[in-house]
C-alpha cells in the first residue's frame, strides 16, 4: 500500500504554529520579493484570492478583508518540512519526499496492520509534534493515493483527514469523481486532447485501450493507467535525483534602464546559478537568459526577450556562466526600456565528473581550484564576500520582504517569547 501525506496549506500552517492568533484567519504568503501570492489559507481561498495574484493589485482587498500577508520565509518552511518528514519516517522506512510539503510512503509487509488507524495515529503525531496539519490518502498505488488524498482533504469532516481506497467500489467511485485534468501526471496538453475525445474523468481514461494510451501518451501514460487500475506500476523514488534545471530569477526593486545595472544583475544571477551547480556537483551545458519590462505598466509597450546559449563545454564556473549570460543579456538590451525582471536558468545538467570534453578544449577544469576557494570563503565568512568585477560589491541581495516572520526554529535570536 502507498500513502500520500500532504501538509494542509503548508506555508500558512507554518506561520500559524508560531502565531496561533491567525488560526481561522485568512492568510496569504507572497513569493520572493513580495511579488505575488504563492500560498493561501482556506479562509483566503474562500475570499476569492486567486493563486498567483499580484500583491500590488490586491493590496486594497487584503486590507479591506483583513487578510494577513506574509513574505515567504523559506528558512522556517524548510525546517518545518524536515521535521514533518522525520516524523513520517518513523512509520515506514520507505519514504519518497515528493516536495516541500508532500511525501509518498510505502507500507510493505503491513498486511496484518490496520493501516487506516495507523495513518490516523501518524496524522495526530505530526500535528502534535510539529504543529502541522496533514491529510493522508491510502491506496494500492501512487496515482490512487494521490486521489485518495484529495478526497481526504475535500471531505475532511467525514474522513478525519485520512481516506483509504481499499476495494473496487471505492476505487471506481473515486475515479469517476476525479476530473481528468486533476489526475496526477496529466498535463495541459493531454488534458485538452483527452477532453476532446470525451474523456472527462479518470474513470473514462482507464477505459481507453492500452495500445492507444501507449501510442499517444508513451509508456508513462500506460503506467499511469495501470496505477489507476490499482496495479502499482509507478515506483517509489527514494533517492532524490539531482535537479534537472536551476534558476535564479528576480524582479527588480525598481526598474533598470542602464546597461551596466542590467549587466550587474545578470552576472549576479549567473554566479548564483553556478554556486548552486557546484553545491550539487553538477555542470550545465546550456544557459537560458531572459529579460522583460513591467507588463503591468500602462501606456508602455511591454518588452520581453529570451535567449538560449549552448556552452562550448559543460561548466559550473562562475566566470564562464557570467560571461555567457552577460553576452546573452547584451544582445537583448534595448535603450529606453525599463527592465523589471531578469533571470538565468541553467540546463542540460550533468554530474561534474562525467562531463564530455571537446577535441580542442584546453579547458579541463580550468577554474576548478579557484571556484573551490571561493566556495570555501563563502562558507566560512558568509555569502557574497567575493564577487566578480562586473558585480556590484556594495550591493547585496536586496530582496523585498516587508512581511517576513521570524526564523523561529533556525536562529536563537528569533525564538518565541513567553511571558
Amino acid at each position: 500500500m502507498f500513502a500520500l501525506v500532504d501538509c494542509n496549506n503548508f506555508y500558512a500552517s507554518c506561520e500559524r504554529v508560531f502565531q496561533p492568533q491567525y488560526e481561522g484567519q485568512p492568510i496569504v504568503i507572497l513569493s520572493n520579493n513580495d511579488g505575488c501570492v504563492i500560498a493561501r489559507s482556506n479562509e483566503a481561498k474562500a475570499l476569492g484570492i486567486p493563486m498567483g495574484a499580484p500583491a500590488f493589485q490586491y493590496k486594497d482587498q487584503f486590507q479591506r478583508q483583513n487578510i494577513r500577508v506574509f513574505s515567504s520565509n523559506y528558512a522556517l518552511y524548510g525546517d518545518m518540512s524536515h521535521r514533518v518528514m522525520k516524523v513520517l519516517e518513523r512509520y515506514t522506512p520507505n519514504v519518497e519526499i515528493y516536495s516541500i510539503d508532500e511525501a509518498f510512503l510505502q507500507f510493505k509487509g503491513f498486511e496484518l496492520f490496520d493501516l487506516e488507524a495507523e495513518c490516523q495515529q501518524m496524522k495526530r503525531q505530526v500535528k502534535q509534534w510539529t504543529g502541522i496539519p496533514v491529510s493522508v490518502g491510502l491506496a494500492p498505488s501512487k496515482a490512487l493515493a494521490k486521489i485518495a488524498n484529495k478526497i481526504a482533504k475535500k471531505f475532511a469532516d467525514r474522513t478525519q483527514g485520512v481516506y483509504c481506497i481499499n476495494n473496487e467500489e471505492k476505487r471506481v467511485k473515486a475515479l469517476k469523481w476525479t476530473a481528468i485534468g486533476d489526475v496526477w501526471g496529466i498535463g495541459r496538453q493531454h488534458k485538452l486532447r483527452l477532453e476532446l475525445m470525451g474523456v472527462q474523468t479518470a474513470y473514462d481514461f482507464v477505459l481507453l485501450p492500452d495500445d492507444w494510451v501507449k501510442k499517444n501518451m508513451s509508456i508513462l501514460g500506460l503506467r499511469l493507467k495501470k496505477d489507476l487500475l490499482g496495479l502499482p506500476f509507478i515506483q517509489l523514488e527514494e533517492s532524490i535525483p539531482p535537479k534537472k534545471s536551476i534558476a535564479t530569477t528576480r524582479s527588480f526593486e525598481g526598474t533598470v534602464c542602464q546597461w551596466s545595472d542590467l549587466e550587474e544583475r545578470v552576472a549576479t544571477f549567473a554566479v548564483s546559478c553556478a554556486e548552486k551547480l557546484r553545491k550539487q556537483q553538477s555542470t550545465c551545458s546550456a544557459l537560458y537568459v531572459f529579460v522583460r519590462s513591467d507588463p503591468h505598466k500602462k501606456g508602455v509597450k511591454p518588452y520581453r526577450s529570451s535567449c538560449t546559449i549552448t556552452l562550448p563545454h559543460a561548466s559550473n564556473s562562475s566566470l564562464d556562466l557570467s560571461k555567457y549570460a552577460v553576452a546573452a543579456a547584451k544582445s537583448m538590451f534595448r535603450k529606453g526600456v525599463a527592465f523589471k525582471k531578469a533571470g538565468v536558468i541553467v540546463m542540460g545538467l550533468a554530474p561534474a565528473e562525467t562531463r564530455q570534453l571537446t577535441l580542442f578544449e584546453s579547458h579541463v577544469g580550468k577554474h576548478k581550484a579557484l571556484m573551490q576557494a571561493i566556495d570555501k570563503i563563502h562558507r566560512r565568512y558568509g555569502p557574497y564576500q567575493m564577487k566578480l568585477a562586473n558585480q556590484d560589491l556594495r550591493r547585496t541581495w536586496k530582496m523585498r520582504q516587508e512581511h517576513l516572520s521570524k526564523r523561529y526554529t533556525t536562529a536563537l535570536s528569533d525564538i518565541i517569547k513567553v511571558k
Binding site: 496561533p20 492568533q21 524536515h82 521535521r83 522525520k86 510539529t130 536563537l412 525564538i415 513567553v418 511571558k419
Partner: protein
C-alpha cells in the same frame, strides 16, 4: 586467443570482496594506547533534545515563574512530543499571547498557575481559547 600467445584476464564482476580502507593511513610507529578507548565527547544537545523533530525553543520574558526557576531571559527547551499532564510546566497560547505556566487540571477547567505570589492564576474554561503548545523539559540559564 591461445594461438596468439596471449591470454586475457578479466576482472570477475560477479563476486565482490570488500576491503577496509585505512583512511588515516598506516604508519609503523607505536599506536596510541587511547585508540581502543575512544568515546564521543559529551554533548548537551544529546541530553536535552530527546526528539529533534518535536523540540522547539523559547525565551522567558518576565518573572511569573520565578519560583520554578524560570527567570527573565532564560532559554526554555520545549518538547512537543510529551503529553501535557497535571503539574507539568507548559508553554500555552491563551488570549492572544504565549505564556509559560504550571498546569493544574481540574474536573471542568484548567488553571495556568504562576509561581510568583505577585501573579494571579489564569482560569481557563471552555470560553477561553487555550492551546497547550508544548511541555517545557529543560531551562538553560546563564550564571
Amino acid at each position: 586467443m591461445q594461438d596468439s600467445g596471449l591470454s586475457f584476464f578479466k576482472p570477475n564482476a560477479q563476486t565482490r570482496k570488500m576491503l577496509h580502507l585505512a583512511q588515516e593511513g598506516i604508519s609503523a610507529g607505536f599506536p596510541s594506547p587511547a585508540d581502543d578507548f575512544k568515546e564521543l565527547r559529551i554533548s548537551i544537545d544529546q541530553e536535552v533534545v530527546k526528539n529533534e523533530e518535536a523540540t522547539f525553543y523559547a525565551r522567558v520574558s518576565g518573572q511569573s515563574m520565578q519560583g520554578a526557576g524560570l527567570d527573565d531571559g532564560d532559554l526554555l527547551v520545549i518538547d512537543r512530543s510529551q503529553e501535557p499532564q497535571d503539574k507539568a510546566i507548559a508553554v500555552c497560547f491563551v488570549d492572544g499571547e504565549f505564556t509559560v505556566k504550571r498546569l493544574k487540571v481540574e474536573k471542568d477547567c484548567v488553571y495556568l498557575m504562576p509561581e510568583n505570589p505577585r501573579y494571579q492564576p489564569i482560569k481557563v474554561t471552555e470560553d477561553n481559547q487555550l492551546q497547550i503548545w508544548g511541555v517545557v523539559t529543560y531551562v538553560v540559564k546563564k550564571v
